[in-house]
């Protein structure tokens, strides 16, 4: 009895067919509550920023910076990878996950040196995110400029 090797597509289909629904639900639940909790930490930081009388523009900057500090530090002490293993997207999608994606490869590739190791690997994931994010924002700005000039 010889079996045909599975193509990646067939394998993927097989895996999702054999994964019990309860495990899928568990994944969604974990991502939901961890992601929600991180957003609540952000909300608490925003309230704190308002008490410090930071303005409407600077308060979100304060919140984001604090969360990023939290994300990189938890990555440094090795906690964030554990959270990530438990929560999946719940820890990857919040901005702390972005911080993790900056800090983790930089720490991992220390031995390649301070410049091409740490310095370059900081941008392993941040590079694509910034490139496409900034690119899209420039397009939005230019289109907005065109539409505004055209309508007015």
């Amino acid at each position: 009895m010889s079996r045909q090797p599975l193509t990646p597509d067939e394998y993927h289909e097989l895996v999702s067919k054999l994964t019990p629904p309860s495990r899928m639900l568990r994944g969604y639940w974990r991502a939901f509550w961890v992601g929600g909790l991180i957003c609540c930490i952000g909300q608490a930081l925003t309230l704190w920023a308002q008490q410090l009388n930071l303005g409407e523009v600077t308060a979100p900057m304060f919140t984001t910076s604090c969360l990023i500090f939290l994300g990189t530090t938890l990555t440094g002490i090795g906690v964030y990878d554990r959270i990530g293993k438990y929560a999946g997207a719940g820890s990857a999608i919040p901005v702390t996950g972005f911080a993790n994606s900056v800090a983790a490869p930089a720490i991992e590739f220390q031995r390649e040196g301070a410049v091409m190791g740490v310095g370059a690997r900081l941008f392993t994931l941040a590079g694509p995110v910034l490139a496409y994010g900034i690119g899209a924002s420039v397009i939005v700005g230019v289109v907005y400029w065109l539409v505004r000039g055209w309508v007015l």
Partner: protein
């Protein structure tokens, strides 16, 4: 009560946005990097068509903390800078508005890499 409601909104909306990411992880073969890029660009596009600002006003940190919120800041920054500086604002606004976050990520990431040693993957 008002504060509790605010946290509840942030929790539910933030959690649901993360669940969209979880759906992409479990149902598609997209890599993590692609999902992050997709989320940021989606945030920019949703802001441009006017969907994301009402969501951010409603859910607060629940909408601004996920990576779509990073896209929201980029797009809002670009639009506001165009209002102020004209066309060149499109090249100014995105980064200006997100400067603190980007700098924090780079600097804290750098400090971390200098302070901590690599860990074994759990």
């Amino acid at each position: 009560m008002n504060t509790l409601w605010m946290f509840l909104k942030a929790f539910v909306v933030g959690g649901l946005i993360c669940d969209i990411g979880q759906l992409l992880i479990m149902r598609t073969k997209l890599t993590n990097a692609r999902i992050l890029v997709l989320f940021v660009v989606s945030g920019v596009v949703l802001t441009a068509v006017g969907v994301y600002k009402p969501l951010a006003d409603f859910a607060g940190a629940g909408a601004t903390v996920p990576l779509t919120g990073f896209g929201y800041s980029l797009a809002m920054g670009a639009i506001e800078a165009v209002n102020r500086y004209g066309l060149i604002g499109a090249f100014v606004g995105g980064i200006t508005r997100t400067a603190a976050g980007i700098t924090a990520a780079v600097v804290f990431g750098l400090i971390n890499a200098l302070v901590f040693k690599p860990h074994a993957k759990p």
